[in-house]
Amino acid sequence: MACTLIILATAPLWAGRSDLRFLSEVFLYLGLAYLWNVLAGYAGLVSVGQQAYVGFGGYLLFALAMNISITPIALLPVVGLAGMLIAVPIASLIFRLHGAYFAIGTWVIAEVFRLSAAQISSLGGGSGTSLPVSVVKSIAASRSDRESFSYWAALVVLLLIIGLMFLFLRSRTGLAMTAIRDNELAAESLGINIWRTKFMVYVITAGLTSMLGALIFMQKLRISPDAAFSVNDWTAFVIFIVVIGGIGTLEGPIIGTLLYFLLRETLADLGTAYLMILGATAILIMLLAPKGIWGLVNARFGIELFPMTRRVIFNKD
């Protein structure tokens, strides 16, 4: 574990520029996958509108960086905090919807965000805007330094997400969350406030998703409503990653992310057919192996990379 970390942390010293960009993209997707996995796989909050926060984070970073002369990386915590703040009223609204209707509700929110962003003319309206050169330079003077910083930032945010997730899932609340997933009634009889737990999970993941969004568009240097609030890029792919890898497991998102990038590098030339293959694979996995590839591996070999399993048994009577 420590070795992997050192190798990854020193990547800017040994990896080429394109490798570095690729790695940070992997980190960002893995982060999104973990967050969606916690939402849907553990807390039972199936959202198809996480692109709302990816786009919000991106747009907020651009707006702040263009108005305040601080390096964008220093703005990340602010973006995260703002993401959490805006998620509070949103959650109190859409938590009135349940199950699949909750899912579509999250999508409506993302649409509202996208349409609103298109109305902000100082950020380019519907066609979007680029990060001004002065802001880009403030990240770092040289291009390679800039990319190193972006890479490190992505790694740090990913580690933050994984760390928080671990703390969370091993805490009383985290166990409660797993209990909710397994048996809502049992969780209630344990005296766990389901609503508040889910609310908290939603708000925190919103904040972290916003930070990832900020990083994604800091690397792209350009933002537009359609790219920032894309349901395909920030939700469909993420869902496929988690479902194919193994929803509700900690190992699944890693497997799914690796597989996703492998498929993308080999099949991306197929264009739309590639997306159809991805969709069909996710459907097949959901029908035949609902715990994904990792579920299959785990069932056959009993391996666990993360010692997280705790069994709670409830009697029927």
């Binding site: 349409l115 349901v231 395909n232 057919a273 969709g279 459907i283």
Partner: protein, 287 residues
């Protein structure tokens, strides 16, 4: 006067939204299934209409004779072969499978028809209008609204006056006991999806006649339909019509204020209802 006109147009387009919503509401009522691919199926029906009108030279409304049965059969098979396997207490499988389906449909249509916007040509019907005082009411939007009312009345009639409707209600109440009565749950669910997609076929043809459509347009239609369902109140078909009208009027007023606010105003109306009356304006009254 522009305002009156905006509102009337909004009411009429509300009929189309009610058509989007009715199929969604129907399958939720019978089997608690929310079909994320619903909007993409509407767009698929529009493309089917395009194929029928261009290859056979049919008028879009005549094309319904082919598109409705094709979509209904597709719905039956889709439910019987694929979606019935996902039904259960866990909401994740049906959600993710229909989500996957949505992506497949969008990209399949893109592959087959390219991203170019298409439109169904309804000829003289498109421009015909009824003068009403100083206003002109388009015949097509009016027809669309009347059809929507008829479809909802028809669904209501099927639900409360036929053996199929009885089977729908019984299975929705308690699928297990319904099976003890000799009802095959899989067949009943598949019939519900067939009926839902028959309505989708009508919605798709009217969508294509009224505006241009492209393979990426599904999600927006899903969202409009969903908003109409929630505004009207879950499980209430007439409420769905009112929901569609409210959505249409809100969009019409929004567009009148600022062209960019059309959709935003519709979403705001939805969020407002959600904030004030989370169960919708006309929630189903239980017996």
């Amino acid at each position: 006067m522009v305002w009156v006109n905006a509102i009337i147009q909004g009411v009429l387009i509300g009929g189309l939204y009610a058509l989007f919503a009715a199929g969604l509401s129907l399958i939720f009522g019978v089997m608690r299934l929310v079909n994320i691919a619903h909007g993409d199926l509407i767009v698929l029906a529009a493309f089917l209409g395009l194929v029928v009108t261009t290859t056979l030279g049919f008028h879009p409304l005549t094309a319904l004779v082919i598109v409705i049965p094709v979509m209904a059969i597709l719905g039956y098979v889709l439910q019987y072969v694929l979606l019935n396997r996902t039904m259960g207490s866990d909401i994740l499988p049906p959600l993710l499978v229909t989500f996957g389906l949505s992506v497949i449909l969008q990209n399949g249509l893109l592959e087959a028809f390219s991203a170019d916007p298409q439109k169904l040509n309804a000829g003289a019907l498109e421009t015909a209008s009824l003068p009403m005082g100083s206003l002109n009411i388009g015949l097509l939007p009016l027809l669309m609204f009347v059809v929507a009312v008829c479809v909802i009345a028809g669904l209501q009639w099927i639900f409360y006056n036929t053996a199929l409707g009885r089977a729908f209600r019984a299975t929705s109440d308690n699928a297990e006991i319904a099976q003890l009565m000799g009802l095959n749950k899989n067949h009943v669910f598949s019939m519900a999806m067939a009926l839902s997609l028959a309505v989708v076929a009508i919605a798709g043809i009217f969508l294509g006649t009224r505006t241009s459509f492209d393979p990426a347009g599904g999600p927006a239609r899903l969202i409009f339909g969903f908003e109409a369902v929630i505004i009207g109140g879950l499980g209430n078909l007439w409420g769905t019509l009112i929901g569609g009208i409210i959505l249409g009027v809100a969009q019409g007023i929004g567009a009148q204020i600022h062209p960019g606010w059309q959709q935003l105003a519709g979403h705001c109306a939805f969020l407002l209802v959600l904030a004030i009356r989370p169960t919708g304006l006309f929630p189903k009254v239980s017996h």
